[in-house]
């Protein structure tokens, strides 16, 4: 307990849709808020999607206004390419150490003109495109990135490699000195002398919105390691008009149009033996949506969905499933035992438990509805923050029913997938809810003492 004034300033960790909503609501409520995002842009996973169920609106259209608002809001301090490293103090008086990774680009000078990332010769796998396309070593993750200022990926930059080589810290062949970005930048924004730094901030409340990642496909070895076996996010990128194929659905192995596409639900979910015991809650719906979008893209193609149960419990969801079934997507109730390559096809061995028959499909493309898991590094962060988590690594809320947004640490709240599998509407609701909890705290707290009585 202390008598320091309650700091009415918040921190939100994670710039996906839950964090974005929380930040905007806190800022609109009249308080300052810092948003820390570890990747170079906010947007999270949602910005990767083609269209979102059940209304089929485009995330780029509905999300970018929120992202831009964050960049321009007077109450918001946006820190991308940054990670929370250390936390001290308690509700009302948290001291946070944030690692601001070096962008090697002076954002004050940079105009976002794009010369550097258009001319950079080093091509690496694009995280935003889930490995389905390349990006350059100096890059913005996607065209609508916020901020629209690039970072230099020091793991892949040729000049950084050159410097390491010259300092005797790198083996092998001498890398080229390159520095093309620096030579071409019209405003001299490339700054090799920029280094990682620790930024200290004081805040009164925190929202953890660190989101999810998909379980790696390698966890299910019977579904082959093959270029034509994709996870859900990779197929979203293929369907997306802004994706690597501009929305043209192709078979990655040879670029042909896939005529038989198999979607497999519960890859790792509801499988305590090999995967995770819980239901990932979004796969039934997004696989149905993907099957429908595939039918729109390839009208003479056939889509099959293997499922255990169809879980369509959100508003308008069951109606959406019915629409997908009526549009000719074939639903097969059963699991798939194996996927393997045979010539230019993928053979899918499955079962249709309604007819009691074995099913074999020669498919062009297989899409796996992989289980969702807490995003990479969540556990390490939660340990730093002193927050309890469950067996799966999701944040353990204080009370499953009456304190769903509170963590075990007073003044720290949770929103979105960090708390458990959920869809976009629920993530947004939780983002708003967590912001509401922060605003309540700020409204009631003249001092940290009183605040703690409230939390």
């Amino acid at each position: 307990m202390n008598n320091k004034p309650f700091i009415k300033r918040a921190l939100v960790i994670g710039g996906g849709i839950a964090g974005i909503q929380a930040v905007l609501d806190i800022a609109d409520g009249g308080y300052e808020v810092i948003l820390v995002e570890r990747s170079p842009s906010i947007g999270g996973h949602m910005i990767q999607y083609a269209e979102v169920f059940p209304t089929l609106d485009c995330p780029q259209c509905i999300m970018t206004p929120k992202m831009v608002e964050i960049a321009q809001h007077p109450n918001i301090k946006l820190m991308t390419y940054a990670e929370v490293q250390k936390l001290n103090g308690s509700a009302g008086n948290f001291e946070v150490e944030i690692l601001q990774k070096a962008r090697k680009v002076d954002v004050k000078k940079c105009t976002g003109c794009g010369t550097c990332w258009q001319k950079c010769p080093e091509k690496v796998s694009s995280e935003f495109n889930a490995g389905m396309a390349k990006r350059t070593a100096v890059y913005i993750p996607f065209p609508q990135a916020v901020p629209a200022k690039p970072v230099i990926d020091t793991e892949h930059c040729r000049y950084i490699h050159y410097q390491q080589y010259m300092a005797g810290k790198r083996e092998g062949k001498k890398p080229p000195e390159c520095r093309i970005c620096e030579k071409l930048c019209p405003v001299g924004a490339i700054d090799w002398e920029q280094h990682d730094e620790i930024v200290k901030e004081k805040v009164g409340a925190i929202v953890v919105a660190t989101g999810f990642d998909l379980m790696p496909v390698s966890r299910i070895p019977e579904y082959a390691d093959d270029p034509d076996v994709l996870n859900g996010i990779q197929f979203e990128r293929l369907l997306s008009p802004g994706g690597p194929t501009a929305g043209v659905v192709i078979r990655p192995s040879d670029g042909k149009t896939p005529k038989e596409v198999v979607f497999i639900s519960c890859c790792g979910s509801r499988d305590p033996e090999h995967g995770v015991p819980y239901c990932s809650r979004v796969c039934c719906m997004y696989l149905a949506k993907q099957a429908l979008l595939y039918k729109h893209a390839v009208p003479d193609g056939q889509a099959y969905v293997f499922y255990i149960d169809i879980r369509s419990t959100g508003k308008g969801y069951e109606e959406f499933i019915q629409r997908v079934v009526e549009d000719g997507v074939l639903y097969l109730r059963g699991k798939v035992s194996r996927v393997f390559r045979e010539g230019d096809k993928l053979r899918v061995y499955g079962a249709d438990t309604l007819s009691g028959k074995r099913v074999e499909i020669a498919a062009d493309l297989v899409v796996l509805g992989m289980a969702v898991m807490p995003s990479d590094g969540t556990k390490e962060l939660l340990i730093k923050l002193g927050i309890a988590f469950d067996e799966a690594g999701f944040v353990a809320e204080s009370h499953a029913k009456f304190r769903p947004l509170e963590t075990n640490v007073p003044g720290i709240f949770v929103a979105g997938m960090a708390q458990g599998a959920k869809d976009i509407p629920d993530s947004v609701a939780q983002g708003s809810g967590a912001a509401g909890r922060v605003l309540t705290l700020f409204a009631q707290s003249a001092s940290a003492d009183k605040a703690l009585a409230v939390v």
């Binding site: 070895p221 019977e222 082959a224 194996r338 393997f340 390559r341 045979e342 010539g343 053979r347």
Partner: protein, 292 residues
């Protein structure tokens, strides 16, 4: 080094070449496989009926023989024996009620608590000998031989007794690579060959083995390396009974991995007993310059 060795019935009858090649190859690696005294049938198939404890008695008796020798590990060659011994041992280790009933029933034997580890020879090669040592012993590398490892079921299922990844095993391929061969991956490596259906429903075997051989041929393989005498028998039988060109079943030798070891180690070919493999085997080996 001496290792307790449980042969099982098939290795003394229909798969003698598996045993002779294994004993010779292991001795070339400095390991003596010492046959257990007074061994009996393993029970052949592990009984899945919860109360069918009498079925495990044969397997447990063999494990008691191992213990009597002052050993805590026994090696098998036959994949079926491996499976039954290993699973019966898990019962004795993990199910106190069943263990009690079986021990009481065998009152002429000392009580047994699952102390003996059952290992398949492939595990010994991987874990105790190591691929490097095996590669070092190779005199005639099996180069230019494209061979698939065919595992069948009982080395990998159920998961609790699997000698390798259940879905993506590599242990046979790793051995083939150590022997200087080209290990070809093929999707049917863990498909069932039809097993005992050979007795009453040959059609199933024909369908299964045709699929396995077809897939191996499509993957570019010329031969299969096997570790189960029943798989070998089924693959051989199908090929000789459907040899008509129109059947579409590719002709492909199925060799025990120990025969390939003996070949690569340059041992006396008499230990390989190739005359017991399919008739095409010798011709293929000759064609490849491995035998004269």
């Amino acid at each position: 080094m001496d290792l307790a060795y449980y042969p099982g019935c098939t290795l003394k009858t229909r798969a003698k070449n598996f045993e002779t090649s294994a004993l010779a190859a292991m001795s070339a690696l400095g390991i003596n496989l010492v046959e257990l005294p007074r061994w009996n049938c393993c029970g052949t198939v592990y009984s899945l009926a919860e109360d069918d404890l009498i079925h495990h008695v044969a397997a447990v008796r063999n494990l008691i023989r191992v213990k009597e020798q002052g050993k805590n590990k026994v090696v098998t060659l036959c994949a079926f024996c491996y499976n039954t011994l290993k699973r019966a041992n898990l019962v004795m280790k993990d199910s106190p009620d069943k263990r009690y009933a079986i021990n009481i029933f065998m009152d002429e034997e000392p009580d047994y608590y699952g102390e003996v580890e059952t290992a398949h020879l492939l595990q010994v090669l991987r874990d105790d000998v190591g691929w490097e040592k095996i590669a070092g012993r190779v005199k005639h590398p099996l180069k230019d031989l494209k061979i698939v490892g065919y595992y069948g079921c009982t080395l990998l299922r159920p998961q609790s007794v699997a000698i390798d990844s259940v879905e993506r095993p590599t242990i046979l391929q790793d051995l083939l690579k150590a022997l200087g061969g080209t290990a070809v991956d093929f999707p049917f490596a863990t498909e069932c060959c039809g097993a005992f259906q050979i007795v009453n429903n040959r059609d199933i075997i024909t369908e299964r083995t045709a699929a396995i051989l077809g897939s191996a041929a499509k993957s570019g393989a010329e031969a299969l390396a096997v570790s189960c005498p029943l798989c070998e028998y089924n693959l051989r039988q199908t090929q000789s009974s459907t040899k008509q060109p129109q059947s579409g079943v590719p002709v492909m030798p199925a060799l025990y991995f120990t025969q390939l070891m003996a070949l690569a180690f340059g041992l006396d070919l008499a230990v390989c007993g190739f005359e017991e493999n399919s008739p095409e085997t010798r011709a293929w080996l000759k064609n490849k310059g491995l035998i004269s």
